[in-house]
């Protein structure tokens, strides 16, 4: 162990991959897990990131912090992973099937096609005043709402809204057209709004965070 350490100290000063791993392993894991939502995939991505960093040690010229550099490598690994998981160009039948959302706009009266009163967006203001936003708790609810979507649609939403990729970048990664992409984003927003309203914004035991 110490001998390996000294090899690294000789190779290039203060860039010991095991030290990086101690410092940033958990951070990178949390970063990956938030995006791919799957423990073993996130672990694999972290490992790949450090191995890639190891073979590119010399390309790290201290231009950015080690953390930023490693996060940049991880980011690319995540999008590669999304791309590999996306085997089919265009939308699958499951992805384009919006029938699970029809009931939101079904009405018995002459206003069929407008929001059904039972599912129309509720007023969030009264509810959300109660809570002092617990970021971690929100993350958990958001993650579980994402898993209610087909995987690629959830991945598209993560790239768009969490990471701020452009539509062109997302279409390339997932091999889809602009129209496919718009359909995915519409479905993701419709689904997530509904899910977050029920499980977060208007959830019955909203003050479980502990502040009265």
């Amino acid at each position: 162990m110490t001998s390996e350490k000294s090899i690294y100290e000789n190779a290039s000063a203060a860039t010991d991959p095991l030290e990086w791993f101690e410092s940033y392993g958990d951070y990178l894991y949390a970063y990956a897990h938030r995006r791919v939502r799957e423990q073993s995939a996130a672990e694999d991505l972290v490992q790949e990131t450090f191995l890639a960093a190891l073979s590119a040690t010399r390309s790290f010229g201290g231009r950015s912090s080690e953390k930023t550099w490693l996060t940049g490598i991880l980011k690319h690994k995540i999008y590669d992973y999304f791309g590999k998981r996306s085997r089919q160009p265009g939308l699958t039948a499951e992805e384009s099937d919006m029938s699970a959302y029809d009931h939101l706009f079904e009405r018995e009266d002459e206003w069929d096609g407008h929001w059904n009163k039972n599912f129309a967006p509720a007023d969030w203001d009264n509810a959300s005043q109660l809570k002092n936003v617990e970021a971690d708790e929100f993350q958990m609810v958001f993650s579980s709402c994402l898993t209610g979507l087909p995987e690629r649609i959830a991945n598209a939403f993560v790239m768009r809204e969490v990471d701020g990729l452009t539509s062109a970048e997302i279409c390339t990664v997932l091999m889809i057209s602009n129209n496919n992409y718009w359909t995915m984003m519409h479905r993701a927003r419709l689904h997530l709004r509904q899910c977050l309203e029920i499980n977060w914004f208007c959830a019955p035991n909203i003050s479980q965070g502990g502040n009265n």
């Binding site: 791993f21 949390a30 672990e43 972290v46 191995l51 706009f105």
Partner: protein, 104 residues
């Protein structure tokens, strides 16, 4: 106990009239998402504006998808709530060490 004024009643009439003329919510909601992805045509913009005038639920919908968009953005330097498991930690350390030896 005031009766609604003349303007109030006219506005209501106008809303009902418009609501029957323009496309219903289920056709407008996809456009509300697309508005965040591409520039809308003038016609789409006008239809949306008219629809919002008549529909409080859709006004909320747009506000709420914006709010969600803001809330899912990563906050700078967030505390790390999740940690690697002991097994994953050992496995990755071993892989780094193996790879480091191989390299040298």
């Amino acid at each position: 106990m005031e009766k609604p004024g003349i303007y109030q009643r006219l506005k209501l009439q106008l809303i009902f009239f418009l609501a029957r003329k323009i496309p219903p919510c289920n056709l407008m909601v996809p456009l509300m998402s697309e508005a965040r992805e591409r520039p809308l045509t003038l016609r789409e913009k006008i239809t949306l504006k008219l629809h919002f005038f008549t529909c409080v639920a859709c006004r909320r919908y747009v506000e709420q998808i914006e709010k969600i968009s803001r809330m899912v953005k990563p906050k700078a330097e967030q505390e790390v709530p999740e940690k690697l498991s002991v097994e994953a930690r050992d496995r990755i350390r071993a892989a780094i060490e193996a790879s480091a030896q191989h390299k040298n």
